[in-house]
Symmetry: C2
Subunit: 309 residues, 2 copies
């Protein structure tokens, strides 16, 4: 398979948001699966069809037990590392000061850097996005027990497009669960089929929105009527499952999670892969881009290809 | 079955809380099931054993469909009633001003008054508590969709004892679910077996605590180590299920719920039955009692007995 040619970016904004005074539902203008060849695909035909239809897919048994143990150990040691705790890449819970997320972990940590480039992951990302890929964002989410707060419904693409300048829907996330997740500890909830509709949100973005939005999103939030419609059509699927499960989801799939009062944390390692042809430009919103550690801009580095020659 | 004699209240406090600087686990001093006779019991032997062991029980198919429809309609009309909205019995969500709970619904609403006295419910309460009963508290919980907030872990008895002066563990709650509850809309979570341990909480109660605590509990909150221990021993059971399910639980069973970002509300009708021999006295904490609509004191009225002659 040859890497496709670089596509010129659109001048017109097909995915406006935080611009109009009323919310709007916009049909997706982009493919979901960018590759056509089924032979040698890193996913089965059924998996590809499921991802295309639902906008997400669970992948189990990718990592060995010992790989998972190393990741968990590394995650724990990062949480307790005072140097990490004081970095700007680290976000704490509003009330408890416990670590909520650490960004750019593929750069801050050698192991997580290796995993981001793991050919098993890169092949899947390259296949779906039909291109070579780079890491747009990475993070560890701790979601501590005893009061880890909710993440309200959102499409990542709405933020990446508006705040980071990502042109097209040609990116995806892989969330590697590093705790057993059941129905009680605030698991990720996804809305099947929602990736095919773009919810244009209401309200201007305030300056330095990311400082607060990473703790609690208040702009770029879909309206209730749109969410009700999407959920009425698609329902809600809960990403519960054993440690090691990879939740693979499209950049525009609506997702969120409830709070977690149980003692069990819900931690995951999170990589966003973007197609190399879909590099960020200037933000489509009216604010300067977010910091580099939240969305790669200067430091874009194509990952070693697993599919393309 | 004859109603037992009135028992004099204990002078000593067997269940101190918000008094010491360290949390403490205290073994329950009271029975869970106060009746011995199995013949003519309104619950099966297996149900009784389950309640005794776990501290809760689900009862299905008590109400007919038409009874449930009436309750749902009444609940909705109360939520939209401006008079109800402005009453002190009504608690709104911190951020949205949506109605979170309405207290004393057995007095404010004729239908809910009748249901509180329904012999099917009263018989169960009388059997478990081995006494005639009255309504210590009633409420409608709306838990609206799109951001209904969490209720942190708590034992109701800890509050009723400390803030209302309920002497013994001889009360129970019935939560009648008025929406279908699944794993995504913040269902009630219960800790099996936790009713046999009293967690003495840390910290003095501030004045007028109930004004805030009904929105977000911050005192009378069990510590993390105790909760971890209870959950390690008993696990967590989620009270999901169809509309109409009654969750019957002991006054000391630890319970709580996560937030609810889904569009689906999680509403229930809630009655607290207390044994007539267990009427509230002066609070065991150091604050004046909470208002009448939160804990009956002046207006205690025994319900027509369904078991005792």
């Amino acid at each position: 398979m040859a890497a496709p040619q670089y596509q010129p970016k659109f001048e017109q904004d097909d995915y406006p948001s935080r611009t109009f005074s009323e919310p709007m539902l916009i049909r997706r203008h982009d493919p979901v699966i960018y590759s056509n060849e089924i032979d040698n695909a890193p996913l089965s035909e059924a998996q590809i069809a499921e991802y295309e239809k639902n906008g997400f897919l669970f992948l189990d048994d990718i990592f060995s037990e010992s790989e998972l143990s190393s990741m968990v150990a590394e995650m724990q040691s990062m949480r307790d590392d005072q140097d990490i705790k004081s970095r700007e890449e680290t976000v704490t819970e509003r009330s408890s000061k416990e670590v909520r997320s650490v960004f750019a972990v593929h750069q801050l940590n050698e192991l997580f850097g290796r995993i981001a480039e793991d050919p098993r992951l890169v092949a899947v990302a390259e296949y779906i996005l039909g291109d070579r890929v780079y890491v747009h964002q990475s993070r560890l989410n701790y979601k501590p027990g005893f009061g880890g707060k909710e993440f309200y419904w959102h499409s990542d693409f709405e933020t990446w497009h508006t705040e980071d300048g990502m042109p097209r829907m040609r990116a995806l996330s892989m969330s590697i669960t590093l705790t057993d997740n059941d129905d009680t500890n605030g698991p990720l909830m996804l809305v099947p089929g929602s990736h095919k509709t773009y919810v244009s949100c209401v309200g201007e973005t305030p300056k330095n929105h990311h400082v607060l939005s990473l703790k609690k999103q208040e702009f770029g939030v879909p309206d209730k009527a749109s969410m009700s419609e999407l959920i009425e059509q698609g329902g809600i699927v809960t990403a519960t499952g054993p440690i090691g499960r990879i939740v693979l989801f499209d950049c525009n799939t609506m997702h969120g999670s409830n709070s977690n009062i149980t003692p069990i944390p819900r931690s995951n390692l999170f990589f966003v892969y973007n197609a190399l042809s879909n590099k960020v430009t200037q933000p489509f919103g009216h604010q300067p881009p977010r910091p580099e550690y939240i969305g790669a801009r200067q430091s874009i580095r194509p990952l070693k290809s697993a599919l393309f020659k």
